[in-house]
Symmetry: C2
Subunit: 379 residues, 2 copies
């Protein structure tokens, strides 16, 4: 099978990821942070190791500000609901995933207002439009780092500067970029960054991260046992325990640590170039096939990771189904949990067929995809 669905979950994982998950379960299978025996301490060390890997990859200095969640959706819910009160206003974009839009729709029922800054038809956001949307009660700006539908990169440095000027918190949804594009938190004006563990960071499903800058205080989503301040009926206030109630996914986090270590060892730019090479090949080849419509920016510098297309007027789920069944190519069709983005690019009805190459895809696989699409245009 040619797996071109890495924007949903990266697959396969580097070998050390599988080994780390298994080793964690077999050899360090105790509960981290609860008991004090050696195996429990080893399990605790796994969590710390992965936090340190995250700090290294993203140039952050406090591992305890890397909070583990089950997925980017939880990271976003925590960041949004933890920082917003009734009466507040949020600025966001029309390119957001439902993991941002749906919590906002929920908050809008509770006297929170949101402005959805419209992207152009390539999914590009003008930072000046963000600035214009700011109101006196704006507390939070949320943007994705790259659209999961079009791959369009959003200028987070410029938007972050605008947020800082106005003393507004800036939350970046890096679900599609963390691990893929170098992100330097020591220099970026970003207050919170939500990440998936199972996409570009090469960890297993069931892992997410929220980076929380030192000056940011959030209300927690859940309270419970933390192994810390066990004698207290009140949830601890310090990080990371405040945001990590209950037993964590230690095996998954072990795998995530191994995934990040793999990225650091191989070199992020080298791995990134594998993806951009395939993406460039795809884009160049697709332009030469009549009957194929390509979405997102034409310029490679403005996009990353996904190539969304349609074949003539065929339903995208139908094409994705044929790619799977006839050509053994795994893509995603239909609406990619981001209806606002589809509306922006005009594909709310048709959806798109999304190819999302990963670091293990080859140019030969990309060629097979192109050949399959050529055939499908003759339908």
């Amino acid at each position: 099978m040619i797996y071109m669905d890495n924007a949903a979950t990266s697959w396969p994982k580097p070998e050390p990821v599988y080994t780390a998950v298994l080793n964690c379960m077999r050899k360090h299978g105790a509960n981290p942070g609860r008991s004090g025996h050696r195996m429990a301490i080893e399990a605790g060390n796994i969590l710390l190791y992965t936090r340190e890997m995250l700090c290294q990859l993203f140039s952050a200095d406090n591992p305890f500000r890397m909070v583990f969640t089950i997925n980017a959706t939880e990271s976003l819910n925590l960041a949004i609901k933890g920082s917003i009160q009734p009466g507040d206003h949020i600025v966001t974009t029309s390119m957001e995933h439902n993991s941002v839009a749906r919590p906002l729709k929920e908050l809008e029922k509770r006297d929170v207002a949101a402005t959805y800054v419209r992207a152009n038809s390539q999914g590009e956001i003008d930072p000046d439009d963000i600035r214009k949307a700011i109101r006196i009660n704006t507390k939070l700006i949320i943007t994705t780092h790259a659209s999961n539908v079009t791959g369009t990169l959003i200028p987070i440095r410029e938007i972050g500067r605008i947020a800082r000027e106005h003393e507004i918190l800036y939350l970046v949804d890096a679900a599609q970029t963390a691990g893929i594009i170098p992100i330097d938190l020591s220099s970026l004006p970003v207050d919170m960054m939500a990440m998936s563990g199972h996409k570009g960071l090469l960890g297993p499903q069931g892992t997410g991260v929220l980076y929380i800058a030192p000056h940011v205080k959030l209300k927690q989503l859940k309270e419970g046992g933390t192994g810390s301040q066990s004698e207290s009926l009140f949830h601890p206030e310090f990080l990371p325990d405040r945001y990590e109630a209950g037993t964590l996914n230690t095996p998954g986090i072990a795998g995530l640590g191994a995934g990040i270590n793999y990225i650091l060892r191989e070199g992020q730019n080298k791995l990134l170039s594998r993806i951009t090479r395939i993406e460039k090949f795809f884009l160049d080849a697709l332009l030469q096939i009549p009957g194929i419509k390509v979405y997102g920016p034409a310029r490679m510098e403005n996009r990353i990771g996904v190539i969304s297309i349609n074949v003539k007027d065929f339903d995208s789920a139908y094409i994705a189904g044929l790619l799977d069944q006839k050509y053994n190519i795994a893509t995603r069709g239909a609406i990619h949990c981001s209806p606002m983005a589809h509306k922006t690019i005009g594909t709310l009805e048709q959806g798109t067929v999304r190819f999302s190459p990963g670091i293990f895809n080859t140019l030969d696989e990309a060629k097979q995809c192109i050949r399959a699409l050529e055939q499908l245009t003759r339908l």
Copy 2:
């Protein structure tokens, strides 16, 4: 190492659990419920399989009412916060874990009242005391099924009947019993049951379950991508998607399914008898060692899974440390995230040394524990 910390996390797991986690990552590593290609469908089938295993083990008939969470703490937060409004009253007990107590303390700041029914010094709850605590605005009764400090079993059938009589929801925290004690949801008057996946159910860490009875409607904790109704900006209302926002811990859930399948195949009563045999041996032997104080009910029928003790007046963490370092025995000392329970049994200062045998512990290991304790009483 002699691992006697199964009440924190069961270890080791049956071999098929490791295999299932690894197979899921290696062979079915796509995103369940998002894309439509074969590997994504296989991943979706893993989730369904585990839901069906849960239904089989607990005699429930609708797999979609078995909702996956990251841990029992999240299950409890969802059940409690999803069902309670300001002005409501909750009845619970003094034997609850902080995963119940801390969410309640949080709600108490928001015009929710709670009554903590006091257990006796063995941790036993009189159902009649629950009845007496009910008020006109009581919306929810919460009890653990077995205390994680004393192992005391709580009469959930009797308490459930009282809840039904008063048309009050009944939430059972089965973190310490699910998978260990047979639980028949088809006959028990239980409306919600929170479970850990990584304890008696033999799954990996990072897995929890909330069973939600058909007549119960909860508000969700999180909104986001679900792979369903992708075109809608509003979070879906149907189960299980309503409560499962974002990508799940599919490898962990694969392991959980394998763990439950192991229980069903081996026979729950056979596995239970392994634990009770060791527990009985422990209790009989401990009674004959002067200087050892044993907590919880004397009668085996009223307890399960944990043997909490103290050696003279020594700090429990000190004894647990010696057991680990000198005897290679893994236990948990100090306060087990349940300060109310420690207060009830009078160990808020000293804590307890908790031995929690699992299905793979042997009588010989139990004997080594007893010999170690005999030596420690001579300190």
